[in-house]
């Protein structure tokens, strides 16, 4: 028996820490079938091996690693085109699988997950849902393989929650449109080759004047401005987009002229659902750090985990995670069955994001002084978690969407 323990620790050190403790393996069976569980295990292994080792450095240097191409590696693992048709290299699966992937990537690195979500859902999935055949053939294969990075831009410096009041305009010219204006908060903006941009083809028609366009890096008149210096999600490059008489050909309209608001709003529902898996991963990452810590760290001659206050905290963290998880995956299943309810899509991210911030705060608290130094990841987890209360529609907007719908019914 002694050799068993010794061999185990040698094996553990020799093989890179490939698998972290699978914490919620009991209740996962409530949410997933066998195949989904297998997938979750597999992505988890991949994310912990390939992405997690870079997480701290990505945050410190505010950029993706230069020595490995994470986009390509995720592409090789077939993670980008989960919801895209097989003919373009996708998997033709649904949002449940996409959320599973998003959660496990987020568990490894919040920044990588956010960029991944913007690429695979905001850009790729919008092309899948709204693109015509030639657009899909032109843009999807490289995006799905990870050779190209995708992005989406709707917000502007003066149009965030009030996105419909956007000023970026697209004036009709011979053969296409000239776009003028600025876009703000564009995730992947600095590195994206393919961007979906919303602009007003009719500035007097309010929401009915919005059109969605596919922009390519290198188009004359399109440039990116400063990379933003963010509180969290550092490394998930975000920047301002600048359009100065940028000519976009007619065939680059995504959907129909003047119908951009439908592309935008329906896309937002699914964006909220998939991104809701981001805070789930962060909450899981918090437990991954806190549980071993409270078993090891002793005060007053006993492990921290024997004290009721700490037990209370981890119980709250655990139930917040599990309940948010149940909500997210149930809604994902419904969306896969074709029933997309904006209230629930907004509800999942409203719920998960706010819980994640609280869980991250408690994670710092459980670690005490150690939680306050950057040697431990808990600080980064809090900074990353906070974004999810703001991006993809602030918590306030989400509440408004849900409340307004309930009032109408």
């Amino acid at each position: 028996m002694q050799r068993l323990f010794a061999a185990r620790s040698v094996l553990g050190n020799a093989v890179k820490t490939r698998r972290r403790q699978h914490l919620s393996s009991l209740s996962s069976s409530l949410l997933f079938d066998e195949t989904q569980l297998q997938f979750k295990e597999s992505v988890s292994k991949f994310a912990q091996d390939v992405i997690a080792p870079h997480a701290e450095r990505i945050d410190k240097t505010n950029s993706f690693p230069k020595d490995v191409n994470l986009w390509k590696l995720m592409g090789e693992f077939n993670l980008h085109g989960i919801t895209a048709p097989e003919e373009y290299g996708g998997l033709g699966l649904g949002y449940l699988y996409h959320c599973i992937a998003m959660e496990e990537i987020s568990r490894a690195s919040g920044s990588v997950a956010l960029s991944y979500g913007a690429h695979s859902n905001l850009c790729i999935n919008q092309l899948v849902r709204n693109g015509n055949t030639s657009q899909k053939h032109k843009y999807l294969p490289k995006l799905i393989s990870g050779e190209h990075v995708g992005a989406l831009a709707m917000s502007e410096p003066n149009a965030g929650s009030d996105v419909v009041s956007m000023k970026c305009k697209a004036d009709k010219v011979d053969g296409g449109f000239l776009i003028n204006g600025n876009k703000m908060w564009c995730t992947n903006g600095p590195s994206a080759q393919t961007l979906i941009v919303y602009a007003k083809t009719d500035t007097k028609a309010g929401s009915k004047g919005i059109t969605a366009f596919v922009i390519e890096k290198g188009m004359a008149g399109f440039s990116t401005a400063q990379k933003l210096d963010k509180l969290g999600m550092r490394g998930s490059d975000t920047c301002e987009l600048v359009f100065e008489n940028c000519f976009v050909p007619e065939e680059n309209i995504l959907g129909k002229e003047g119908k951009g608001v439908y592309v935008l709003m329906s896309g937002l529902d699914l964006e909220r659902l998939v991104l809701a898996a981001g805070p789930l991963g962060i909450m899981q990452a918090c437990l991954d750090i806190v549980l071993p810590y409270i078993r090891q760290r002793e005060q007053f001659g006993r492990p921290l985990g024997e004290f009721q206050f700490i037990q209370g905290k981890v119980a709250d963290m655990y139930t917040a995670l599990q309940s948010s998880r149940s909500y997210v995956y149930s809604v994902a299943r419904e969306c896969d069955n074709g029933k997309v309810d904006p209230k629930d899509c907004a509800g999942t991210i409203l719920c998960a994001a706010e819980r994640a911030t609280q869980v991250a705060l408690q994670a710092i608290q459980c670690l005490g002084g150690n939680g306050y130094i950057n040697e431990y990841a808990t600080g980064r987890l809090l900074r990353d978690a906070k974004l999810y209360e703001i991006g993809a529609g602030t918590s306030e907007i989400r509440r408004m969407v849900i409340g307004r719908e309930l009032f109408k019914e």
């Binding site: 020799a14 093989v15 698998r19 972290r20």
Partner: protein, 252 residues
């Protein structure tokens, strides 16, 4: 050529082991189980040999309760072509496993049998060697490199990790190879392959089908945890150290 790979379902290597209160074994209730890491390496090597064109089929086999099917599914998701599940309600010791694998080999006629060098639960490091002996086949254990020479020659060159360093053997096929840690880095099961694996066949077999006698000459009497590590003692002289090593620790 067909390659048979034996994969064992064991307690996941990251799990903290607890001995059952009745001391009959290790607690496996509600504990995460996975494919033995050395078996993963064995399967990976078999898949690489197939991809290099030296084998037509990779068959994964697991012996144990119904949950072994999960382990086989992982193997199929990695790329094995089909699986065989030999039903057994409790865990067998290496000799019985070896007899079962020999019976299977008589039926399947593989050109190579790959196993992990040992399982991380019992650390026996016996099964591969026993299978080779029962079949009368050559064996190359602790493989850190395997090269299958051309199909006509029907032999393989294996580098073995031994105490003195590396030993290179040439074995005629059919042969048994057990895999060591540094042989390869097993691939991940990607989602398309997990999906494909759902339709790959897993054949169920019983011990009666294979006509194997499972009577074991070994009985596990007791399983206990190793004694807790005691703190050290500071000695004041070399003489005292030698005295303690001789009379207290009994190692000299």
């Amino acid at each position: 050529m067909k390659i048979l790979v034996a994969v064992k379902r064991v307690v996941d290597y990251a799990v903290k082991i607890r001995v059952k209160p009745d001391k009959t074994g290790v607690d496996t209730q509600n504990v995460k189980m996975s494919m033995n890491p050395f078996c993963e390496i064995a399967l990976e090597e078999a898949l690489r040999i197939k991809e290099a064109g030296f084998a037509k089929e990779v068959v994964a086999v697991s012996i144990g309760p119904s949950q072994c099917v999960d382990t086989l599914r992982t193997g199929l998701a990695m790329g094995a072509d089909r699986g065989i599940h030999v039903e057994a309600s409790y865990s067998f010791l290496p000799l019985t496993i070896a007899k079962i694998l020999k019976s299977l080999a008589d039926v399947e006629n593989p050109g190579l049998i790959f196993l992990g060098k040992q399982a991380i639960d019992d650390d026996c490091n016996q099964t591969g060697q026993m299978v080779a002996a029962l079949l009368g086949w050559p064996q190359a254990t602790f493989a850190s490199k395997v090269v299958v020479l051309d199909k006509d020659k029907q032999s393989a060159t294996v580098d073995r990790e031994v105490d003195e360093g590396l030993e290179t053997l040439s074995v005629d096929l059919p042969a048994v190879i057990t895999t060591d840690l540094r042989l390869n880095q097993p691939r991940y099961a990607t989602l398309p392959n997990i999906m494909k694996a759902k339709s790959k066949p897993i054949k169920k077999m019983t011990l009666e089908d294979l006509k194997v006698d499972i009577k074991s000459d070994i009985e596990i009497v007791e399983v206990t945890e190793p004694p807790k590590r005691k703190s050290g003692v500071i000695v004041s002289s070399v003489d005292e150290l030698i005295y303690k090593l001789k009379n207290e620790a009994h190692v000299v």
